[in-house]
């Protein structure tokens, strides 16, 4: 790794100015550098503008661009247009809605609304993102909410719609905010995962163990109640280890002890058995402690979790997969990168937008999803490094195994220390209880004596007769007896105290041993958490290299047979060379054009610079076109070869080609895991629905309907006002202020239309979520495809209605276009955000020619075909 990074750095430093060695380069460059360190060979080329505009709109606004937006971006000649678009989209209204929806799915996982309306919760999230609230602040508000209106009821949906269930809340807080699903650690240390310990689960559970859903009156809204005692005790079903954990963040060093209260004084509002409607309030809330703890201590699991989720949001795949399974045996694909992201996100004050911006600016983000060219040549380059990769892997494997062994020992030692400590702790607790009882008895005896004395005093002090009161002797005898009782109680207390002290010392000694064992356990854990990922990374690189060489071998083998294959390979290699060369030129020119543009912006009056920028801009575009042409030619050739392979497979000679295809698919997966190719992932149900609405023009139609509804509202209001006026004038009303006409501003119009569209869109989105969303309460990022989804897209009236030609919608526009090539362009740009290639244009032409009588049906069929395609269903 060191060698590679040195090589990489030396390559970079020649092109960057010396001043940058002082302050670190921007985050996006550091990200690219760390990704590059994990790559063994060439990565995919930078995506073209068309791919970029689709990808960035999906990621930042939740929908593909409209045809106008796509056209405008493609026509823009400014070389800095990508970063400008990123900034513009991050500032958009759609971005707020998209972030709110993304976080809603993460936080609630499509659970039903039981106690808080989903619209109120979404409103809370939207307001938070509109105000660019920091992620930390957002989470603390959610975790501090208790369901009361004065304390952010909407935010309490996280707890309330998990029905206040302490186990479910503990599990989900662990999963969703700390990336750790410790479910299996509920009953014992996790059997398969070395670093999920039962005490970690109970550390988390201790925050919530006292929480319950308080709703004595079903007609009134539920809030969260909390008991003052209990929560956090555990016993392993395997090892018999037991303990009581104080609240503690996962792998946190701080345990939060409860403040001490006199028995019976734990509540500020005591539970009242006579008044069930009274919410008891403890003086100390353990649940509130978690929000406070997040503000007080840095927690790397918390930071890593969100960094990983935001990364996956943009890059299509987490550095840790699945999101809620961060542990040493499932290390990040790029450990250093995840740490960098986590630290940087914290130091940029948990600013989600600023962070997404950096991710969008990376080369890694702007990479094509297609495999790089010239793989065989790459394989030859990699071959000589194999020995080193192998040695690295072996060395790190040994270190990791040693760390795992040490961790197992530390765990066993901790368990042993706990088991040894338990009888002492119990004995001390029992003695302490006895001492407390003796103390209570002693104070009671004291009180009784004092009372008796007071009685005597009362009698003797008042009157003369008092001194001869016949009760006196009996009372005095009583005092003597009580004095004896007091003395006896004192002796008992002293004995009990001595007993306690006797037990305290060994118990303390055991506790010290447990603390020492805990420290050793934590240290062993930390070493393991470093060693294992490092090994995994080395292993992955070695595997990648070997897979590449194997693929190249299979290719060579299949080339060996017929002449055609050899010719093909030569042709392919030539095309690959050309793609690489034009790509390099395009890249160089793009960078130059960007610098020139930046310089021009600094010195806008410098004519030479203006000219240079313009010339370089033109050149850069021309080079992009040349590169695109070369890439297209390569794609076409590859497609031909694939077809040939399939054909040969049909004729029974395809075994080798099949192997080559399988080997290529595996390689694609590997490159994707290493982020050497760009994001490739399904659209979420929301993205799919919104993109369909955009592509078909249905969204715009809704806006037009919204305008009409607004106009109608205006007209209705005017009519009502007129009527009122007439009535008023009849009555000769005196009050003038009543007559003030309702004036609706342009801003109100916009708001009305937006709300109108939102309402309509969200109803449709719900249906898509039902069909394309995962099961409530489970992670929502797994892909699945079912027949009922396809049936919906194929036959349901809703989707079909969007495709009916009307006015300026997609099919309406297509219907009006005469030339089939123009029609194909409009269709492809609207739905797939790209131009059709020659084959596709020809196919469209043929299709239209075959259905001359029914162009309206034909454009609907064509539009449907594109909407239902794989290309539309996925982000790439």
């Amino acid at each position: 790794m060191t060698l590679l990074s040195l090589l990489f750095l030396s390559g970079v430093t020649t092109s960057v100015s010396a001043s940058e060695s002082v302050s670190p380069p921007p985050l996006h460059q550091r990200i690219d550098q760390l990704i590059a360190e994990g790559n063994v060979a060439a990565v995919a080329p930078r995506i073209g503008d068309a791919e970029f505009v689709r990808r960035i709109y999906l990621d930042l606004t939740g929908s593909i661009p409209t045809v106008e937006q796509a056209r405008a971006f493609l026509a823009d000649v400014n070389p800095a247009k990508r970063s400008q678009l990123i900034d513009r989209l991050l500032a958009s209204r759609e971005n707020v809605a998209h972030l709110a929806s993304t976080f809603d799915v993460w936080l609630m996982e499509r659970r039903g609304e039981s106690h808080v309306k989903s619209s109120e919760w979404l409103g809370f999230l939207s307001e938070s993102f509109a105000a660019n609230k920091s992620y930390l602040e957002l989470v603390r508000e959610i975790l501090a909410a208790d369901g009361t209106p004065e304390n952010n009821r909407a935010a309490a949906r996280f707890y309330l719609d998990r029905l206040g269930d302490p186990n479910l809340i503990s599990r989900d807080v662990g999963r969703i905010f700390f990336g750790q699903d410790m479910q299996c650690a509920q009953c014992h240390d996790h059997p398969q995962i070395t670093d999920y310990l039962q005490r970690d689960y109970y550390g988390m559970f201790a925050f919530f163990g006292r929480t319950y859903l308080f709703q004595p009156d079903k007609k009134k809204p539920a809030v969260l109640g909390e008991k003052a005692l209990g929560g956090g005790d555990f016993k392993s079903v395997f090892t018999e280890v037991e303990g009581a954990e104080l609240p503690r963040l996962p792998h946190g060093r701080t345990s939060y002890a409860d403040p001490e209260f006199e028995p019976g004084e734990e509540y500020s509002v005591k539970p009242d058995p006579k008044n069930k409607n009274l919410l008891p309030i403890p003086k100390h809330s353990r649940r509130a402690q978690i929000a406070a703890a997040l503000g007080e201590e840095k927690n790397s699991a918390f930071n890593r979790n969100i960094a990983n989720r935001l990364w996956a949001q943009m890059m299509g795949k987490g550095l840790v997969v699945p999101f809620d399974f961060h542990h040493a045996s499932n290390p990040p694909s790029h450990p250093e990168l995840l740490q960098l992201l986590a630290d940087e996100f914290e130091s940029m004050n948990y600013d989600v937008r600023a962070f997404l911006r950096e991710l969008a600016l990376t080369e890694t983000y702007q990479r094509s999803f297609e495999m790089p060219a010239e793989l065989s040549r790459q394989a030859e380059k990699v071959r000589p490094t194999l020995a080193e990769l192998r040695a690295d892997e072996g060395r790190l494997a040994e270190i990791s195994r040693a760390a795992a062994g040490a961790l197992d020992e530390a765990k066993a030692a901790w368990n042993a220390a706990r088991i040894a400590a338990i009888p002492h702790e119990n004995a001390l607790a029992a003695a302490e209880q006895k001492r407390l009882a003796a103390q209570t008895a002693s104070s009671k005896a004291d009180e009784a004596l004092a009372e008796a004395k007071a009685e005597v005093d009362k009698i003797t002090a008042t009157t003369v007769e008092g001194k001869t009161n016949p009760k006196l002797p009996k009372l005095e005898a009583d005092i003597v007896a009580k004095q004896k009782a007091v003395d006896a109680a004192k002796t008992a207390l002293a004995t009990a105290a001595a007993e306690t002290e006797k037990w305290r010392q060994p118990a303390d000694a055991e506790r010290v041993k447990v603390t020492a064992a805990t420290e050793k356990l934590e240290a062993a854990l930390e070493s393991y958490q470093i060693a294992k990922p490092a090994w995994k990374l080395a292993q992955r690189k070695l595997d990648d290299a070997e897979a590449l060489i194997a693929y190249s071998g299979t290719l060579a083998e299949s080339k060996g047979s017929p002449d055609q294959a050899e010719q093909d390979a030569a042709k392919l290699a030539a095309l690959e060379e050309r793609v690489a060369a034009t790509g390099q030129i395009a890249e160089l020119l793009r960078k130059s054009a960007e610098s020139a543009q930046a310089a021009r912006a600094q010195f806008p009056d410098d004519v030479d610079l203006v000219n240079a920028a313009s010339v370089l801009g033109d050149r850069s575009r021309a080079a992009d076109v040349a590169h695109q042409t070369a890439s297209d030619a390569l794609s076409t050739k590859k497609a031909e070869m694939t077809a040939a392979i399939e054909k040969s497979a049909d004729t029974g000679k395809g075994e080798l080609s099949e192997r080559a295809t399988a080997s290529f698919d595996e390689l694609s997966e590997r490159w994707s895991d290493a982020f050497a190719t760009g994001a490739f992932t399904q659209l979420t149900p929301e993205q799919l629905c919104h993109s369909m609405l955009r592509a078909t023009g249905q969204w715009d139609k809704l806006a037009i309907a919204g305008e009409a509804a607004f106009d109608k509202k205006l007209a209705d209001q005017a009519a009502a006002a007129k009527k009122q006026q007439a009535a008023d004038s009849k009555k000769e009303s005196k009050s003038d202020d009543k007559k003030a006409e309702p004036v609706l501003t342009e801003a109100e119009r916009r708001k009305f239309v937006e709300d109108y569209v939102d309402t309509q869109v969200s109803a449709t989105t719900k249906r898509f979520v039902q069909l394309f969303g995962g099961q409530p309460g489970l992670p929502q990022n797994d892909f699945f495809a079912t027949a009922d989804q396809a049936l919906y897209l194929s036959n349901d009236g809703t989707v079909r209605s969007w495709l009916r030609p009307s006015g300026g919608n997609l099919t309406g526009r297509l219907l009006a276009i005469e030339d089939p090539a123009d029609l194909a362009r409009e269709l492809y740009l609207s739905v797939l955000t790209r131009a059709p290639d020659a084959t596709e244009t020809a196919a469209i032409r043929d299709f239209l020619a075959a259905h001359p009588e029914q162009k309206s049906v034909a454009v609907q069929d064509l539009s449907w075909a594109l909407l239902s395609s794989v290309e539309f269903r996925f982000k790439h």
Binding site: D165, G774, L791, E840, D861
Partner: protein, 431 residues
């Protein structure tokens, strides 16, 4: 509608399910049973020569009384008014409410020693269908989803998991947990076809074909650049949809012969049994039929008389048909409930919820015919021999279908044991 509502309810959601009227199937003559083999369709039998395994679950909604069905205790304080009758298995007796089923017991077996220690409807249903004890914050897939996933050989096929009930919606349910919606059941039976499974009238067959060709063109171009399991699954979902439209008749009961429809009866349960046969014949892996409602807190005896009267004939015919068609060997049949009913008869002549000593009936694929496993005491108040839990039964079903019940599903980088590792199969009733 209201009058059909179960009026002896205990107030839980389970009782909201409409109960179909009692159609007097007890009265129907037994003569129809003779000469059944003449209805068996030889073409279908041939097709089933392939040893595709399937599972049929009959869910006795609300809690079937073991004392009025599989484990009668006549003449005891808890036995109630019904007699026990001999069955086609020497020495095995079941309640006289199941005269037709009694004649088919040589195909079936009984487990009489279930103790799930639970008397809650939803918890009991969950335990019996997932083989797991509920754990806060965790959800497990139902048996149908587990079997459908385990038997999935890939490729476009009809859905692997179908549930039939009187209020079937035609849509997909959420019962597959982490196995994913692909294995969730399609809900059928409410006289609604599968949602969107018919081509709209304004979409011509030509159009449908033409647009599919263009879709393939676009997909193929994209596939030459990138093909993954996900893209394949998406393409396949359209093929599966097409298959569903093309084979809509699989779900259409009117395709069955008039004779068969008469044999099974025109009430819901009869029709649902026939539909189940049809689906199993068409290689749908897991079918569940619900019969509602057995939650007899009042008038237990009258209602079991009615309900089992409706159940007995179609069930026995279904077992016979599966046997005649050579399908029983490869079809596991299980008749289960969420729990049994109390031996103690309450003041309203009812029996209440009871999970401590009750029975299921199972047979077919992988199960010894005519066996009895486990035993309760003389008046059925406790299990005396071979107590089992829902977890044991779940393992047994999987094992009977030839699956390794101790293996794991690998999903998204995680291992999920296919059955609760704390239990194991009941070996004594497996073949």
């Amino acid at each position: 509608m209201k009058s059909n509502q179960c009026h002896y309810a205990c107030g839980s959601d389970e009782h909201l399910i409409a109960r179909r009227p009692f159609l007097g199937s007890l009265i129907a003559g037994g003569a129809a049973l003779s000469g059944l083999s003449s209805f068996a369709n030889p073409a279908v039998s041939a097709q089933l020569a392939s040893q595709q395994k399937r599972m049929l679950v009959i869910r006795m909604h609300g809690g079937l009384s073991q004392l009025e069905s599989w484990d009668p205790k006549p003449g005891t304080d808890t036995g109630g008014p019904y007699r026990a009758i001999p069955t086609s298995v020497p020495g095995m007796h079941i309640s006289e409410l199941l005269p037709y089923t009694a004649k088919k017991m040589h195909h079936l077996s009984l487990v009489r020693s279930i103790n799930t220690k639970n008397g809650d409807h939803s918890k009991g249903t969950y335990m019996m269908l997932t083989g797991r004890h509920p754990m806060p914050g965790t959800d497990y897939p139902e048996i149908g989803a587990v079997v459908a996933k385990s038997m999935d050989e890939g490729g476009p096929s009809l859905p692997g998991h179908v549930k039939i009930s009187a209020n079937g919606t035609g849509a997909r349910s959420a019962d597959a947990a982490y196995l994913g919606p692909k294995y969730a059941s399609m809900s059928l039976g409410g006289d609604k076809p599968l949602t969107n499974s018919t081509r709209p009238s304004d979409l011509s067959e030509d159009s449908a074909k033409a647009r599919d060709e263009i879709r393939s063109l676009v997909n193929n171009r994209f596939g030459s650049k990138r093909r993954t399991a996900e893209t394949d699954a998406y393409v396949q979902s359209f093929e599966q949809a097409e298959e569903l439209v093309k084979r809509a008749e699989v779900f259409d009961l009117s395709q069955e012969s008039k004779q068969d429809r008469e044999r099974y009866g025109s009430h819901d349960f009869g029709r649902h049994c026939l539909l189940a046969r049809r689906l199993l014949e068409n290689d749908i892996t897991c079918v569940q039929v619900s019969h509602s409602n057995y939650d007899t807190h009042n008038e237990n005896f009258n209602f079991h008389h009615e309900q089992l009267g409706e159940f007995d004939r179609p069930f026995s015919i279904l077992i016979d048909d599966l046997h005649q068609r050579g399908m029983l060997e490869s079809t596991l049949v299980v008749v289960l409930s969420e729990f049994g009913r109390t031996p103690k008869i309450n003041a309203r002549y009812g029996r209440d919820h009871w999970g401590n000593a009750w029975s299921v009936c199972l047979g077919g694929c992988g199960i010894q015919p005519g066996a009895i496993y486990g035993k309760t005491n003389a008046n059925g108040t406790e299990v005396t021999d071979d107590e089992v839990d829902a977890g044991h039964l779940f393992h047994t079903y999987l094992k009977a279908l030839g699956l390794r019940s101790t293996s794991n599903f690998e999903i998204g980088g995680r291992k999920f044991p296919i059955a609760d590792p704390a239990f194991e199969p009941i070996k004594d009733i497996l073949t």
